[in-house]
Subunit: 351 residues, 4 copies
Amino acid sequence: MIIVMNHNAPKASIDRVVGEIERMGCAAHLSAGRFRTVIGAVGEEGQIDQNHLATLDGVEKVVPIMKPYKLASREFHEDDTVVEVGGGSVPVVKVGGSHAACIAGPCAVENLEMLTRIAGKVHEGGATILRGGVYKPRTSPYSFQGLGVEALKWMRATGDQLGMPICVEVMDTRQVEQMEPLIDCWQIGARNMQNFDLLREVGKTRKPVLLKRGLAATVKDWLLSAEYVLSQGNRGVILCERGIKTFEDSIRYSMDISSIPVARQLSHLPMIVDPSHAAGKRDYVSSLALAGMAAGAHGIIVEVHYCPSEAQCDGPQALLPETFKELMVQLRQIAAILGKTFAENAAPVTV
Amino acid sequence: MIIVMNHNAPKASIDRVVGEIERMGCAAHLSAGRFRTVIGAVGEEGQIDQNHLATLDGVEKVVPIMKPYKLASREFHEDDTVVEVGGGSVPVVKVGGSHAACIAGPCAVENLEMLTRIAGKVHEGGATILRGGVYKPRTSPYSFQGLGVEALKWMRATGDQLGMPICVEVMDTRQVEQMEPLIDCWQIGARNMQNFDLLREVGKTRKPVLLKRGLAATVKDWLLSAEYVLSQGNRGVILCERGIKTFEDSIRYSMDISSIPVARQLSHLPMIVDPSHAAGKRDYVSSLALAGMAAGAHGIIVEVHYCPSEAQCDGPQALLPETFKELMVQLRQIAAILGKTFAENAAPVTV
Amino acid sequence: MIIVMNHNAPKASIDRVVGEIERMGCAAHLSAGRFRTVIGAVGEEGQIDQNHLATLDGVEKVVPIMKPYKLASREFHEDDTVVEVGGGSVPVVKVGGSHAACIAGPCAVENLEMLTRIAGKVHEGGATILRGGVYKPRTSPYSFQGLGVEALKWMRATGDQLGMPICVEVMDTRQVEQMEPLIDCWQIGARNMQNFDLLREVGKTRKPVLLKRGLAATVKDWLLSAEYVLSQGNRGVILCERGIKTFEDSIRYSMDISSIPVARQLSHLPMIVDPSHAAGKRDYVSSLALAGMAAGAHGIIVEVHYCPSEAQCDGPQALLPETFKELMVQLRQIAAILGKTFAENAAPVTV
Amino acid sequence: MIIVMNHNAPKASIDRVVGEIERMGCAAHLSAGRFRTVIGAVGEEGQIDQNHLATLDGVEKVVPIMKPYKLASREFHEDDTVVEVGGGSVPVVKVGGSHAACIAGPCAVENLEMLTRIAGKVHEGGATILRGGVYKPRTSPYSFQGLGVEALKWMRATGDQLGMPICVEVMDTRQVEQMEPLIDCWQIGARNMQNFDLLREVGKTRKPVLLKRGLAATVKDWLLSAEYVLSQGNRGVILCERGIKTFEDSIRYSMDISSIPVARQLSHLPMIVDPSHAAGKRDYVSSLALAGMAAGAHGIIVEVHYCPSEAQCDGPQALLPETFKELMVQLRQIAAILGKTFAENAAPVTV
């Protein structure tokens, strides 16, 4: 940690900072420049209370050198982590390293029939994990809020029938116990990326966690949220970029394409993109999906509906099954250029 | 609602949109311009499924005319709402209309002694509501997370002794039941502004809710979150601006000063500012507090510590008691210019 | 144009708005809803003064329906525009439609020898247009500002020798006259995207214009700046996405990948990406370039240096010649998937 | 300057960095921590080429300690600078320190009659400097672009008659020579904040410069632009906050209220706010103006029109003369609380 003193900080202030650093079990290295003194705190950065130093008299700023997350960092774990989703009643799907995955399905599960139909289509198109919301985070209290546990049972049955692990959003700590035996992968939505109690609860389970990036979260914030999960002993975190809030108003959220190479450099965790929620509009979904793969992602999560105008939630962003199929063809080609392979799906089970 | 068609939308598409609008119980008014057709849906906008219309062929965009929130809007309730905080073991403090309030205290309650000392100081300085965190949302899992229910009991006792209602942050739906009898005002943090289950739970109680604005939330999103609380029957929402994420990196968050006149025009709810969390640095707290009052806020929530370098949380942004006292003098003067009055505090109880 | 009235606007206000619309030569269509009246102005939207209507009593907001640019819009010109760069002393390079182009070279021209060497390398690697700054926009007045017209002559000679058109940034209206005969393509930097006098001056010439997106410009603002050039009779505008300012601080600017499908849908103009300036760091340049092509761009502009640590400007973001070569191989493959082809370069001229 | 090495940087890389620092005339201080080595470069930071060091092998990041601007910094000039506007044919108006100023007038000068009328009103209301655009930066090439030099002569005559210095926007380096004898204060618009040639040209004159903050500029960028002007020998820079681009869409730009205490701490230059362009809507202008003063600004620049619906430019944001008058009363009260005084105006000259 580097402590930069004000340009006229008196010797007493400098001595106080040095004393505090030594009290915390670190060594202090002074560099007295012409205009200001800079103090390096050498030792275990985790032992140093940055806030405390920042409040001392004469301190202009404190610059941490180490990253604030550990288990999520590539320095801690050099090779790409490969997360396994599924097992038990469904095959295992790998995500990470050279393994790319496509997670697809409806935005919200509205009834069994539509779920069966969409799941069949995405399975046929090449998706290997099934998505579908049963609790929906809606900005308006007057919008459709999801069908809850009944819809979750339909998801389980459909996934089992098609041989696809299921990925389902959890919104509240009180849902964790009931959902855990039924799902293969937790989804934490963007608005819950810093719901720290929820992160801890899913971290205590042993099901992998798809962690969407918050709308105002830096890559560092995001990796700190991953650290919450990892620190509970759950090593199966999949990062998911889904767009951030910017001033641009021609699209719902701006997919931060650079977060892919940045997060992949800083962390060993697999990373996918969600072009549907970033775009908010069908026309742009395929371009964003292809861009994500080309930038180095390990796959996509995408919404598909055979009749978007009937969807109760986010219809405008759902791909039609035939567009999804075409997209998968191009995604496989781009994955190959980048040294990744999408898992092949088993033939659809006859329904 | 206005539906703008593509510039070459065929008649069949236009007829389909008109048919759907009528099926939803509204009337459709066509304006066929030279380049494109615009369709007005007239009737109860709440009956119209905007997403559905947006997915129909030939539709370029859908422009809602009505605001998506109702109970929070000034159209629904023309006069300023005055929220009453306290009652029972402590006096009632009014917030809203011509009533300004100062909520102050430590960031986190660390022990009873520091709480007693800080509470005495802020009471003496002019605060009428006591704040203090017992569950702390921390970006890092390795940071101090709060002392929980024991600290909450200290808060209750201290508030009662000084005659100050207490405002305490709730982070998880599982905490609501236990906290409700002990607190006077819920605080919902910025990162939970769209934790919809939590909003619903506090909405079911009859204690007022201080609702901080999310870091990526527009004023519209914020009022929709207020609507979640209001829609459960709880009419005591106090909005709190605490800064948004922008590209500016000289300060922690950018306090969005314009949200004050904007939200006050759109909504009848009282509104305060939190200069401490916006600034993240003591030097800027007073300027932001004064600016907030001058822009029309109904008060502030601010962190105070007699020895910030000992604080376990956010020490760099805590005001010293003497600075807080000076600030209150200027705040009262500005409030007077804007036609508001801060409640006078009872003399501090001898401890 | 749609004029939304306040929910309690009196009849006199409505009549005034209708009168003003008719005075401007348009027809006014009224939709009197239960809560508010909405007025559609039908006719030539260009004839309507939106600002004027917005200031009238009782008007809540004015929603334009038509796009504010015309010549830049795909409605005006349905097919992709193919811009031709070069001719005369160098071959023509096409950009747009199925034609992809790679513009490469040093950030700034520092001396003839380094220019010759880098130009040879990028030519060999597959670039077909040569870039190189002779006037440099630098945020600090104390940084290297470019060598001016002498460096421009070196650029011209080098381009001619290798058979590569040259693309050079212009910063000031006073430079236009002298530069015009020497360059093949103007570059307008991000910070000058709304230097309207400069846009007009290059618009009066007949050399194509590479128009970088401003750091705070929406896609709409950008297309309006393109309109400034086009409205002077110059139809050769190439849009260039180079990142926008967001809160993310792990990278210099956030490349707005969604601007590619959005701008391509709204406009017929060709579009390339500048991964070097967005990233600011070599490690991320290739990922962003590949993502840009996958999202639908018509090529890239990229900085290359054989010894970045000697560069006087932006060394950290320059690709090494061998990395550039590898990138071009992958870019060609992705272009093929998207139905585009990079022009093949003539064999490097023996120097 | 601090150079942080990668956590596994070999000794050869460290030696190379040390060698380069010494070659640049500075001393290198090594701190070899357990995980990585940090190198302090001690000496004249201006001698160190940060970019060069950042490109060397094994370097993770370079952290500058000194600020990149000098003449603009409070370390260089501890006391508040008081800029004098006017002199010669009009009285001098001071801005800075305890001197607050109100600059008011129409957005654009449209004809002599409207200018005379508005100038009389703002003079009567308490403005001491007259504003009025003669060249207008407009995002659309089809909007009114200003009347040029003829309008400037009207400005000069009107200012002289009322005893008010005039402040006029310059957009192009070619306008500087002609405008210089006629104006009292240059205005550099937000879109030209990084038009470096223009900054240099006005820096060579001896008329003060009102420097608006760019829409995507950090406070640091802004002070670097001030440095461009100051480095040419012109010491009369007045900073003007006018809003930045954020995701919030309920207002045109978000006035960054915290830039006031931040810039005032970092710099000695006077600072005013422009609530009109930030708000874009009359209703919010007064709140933002009051907030700016309360946060520590040295005044405001504001647009006034007696009949906004007739304005050719930005009518929706113009204050009515009576609202302006009321605002000035409150501004004077807030200024007094903050220890500042608005200059009193001479009685309006009988026209």
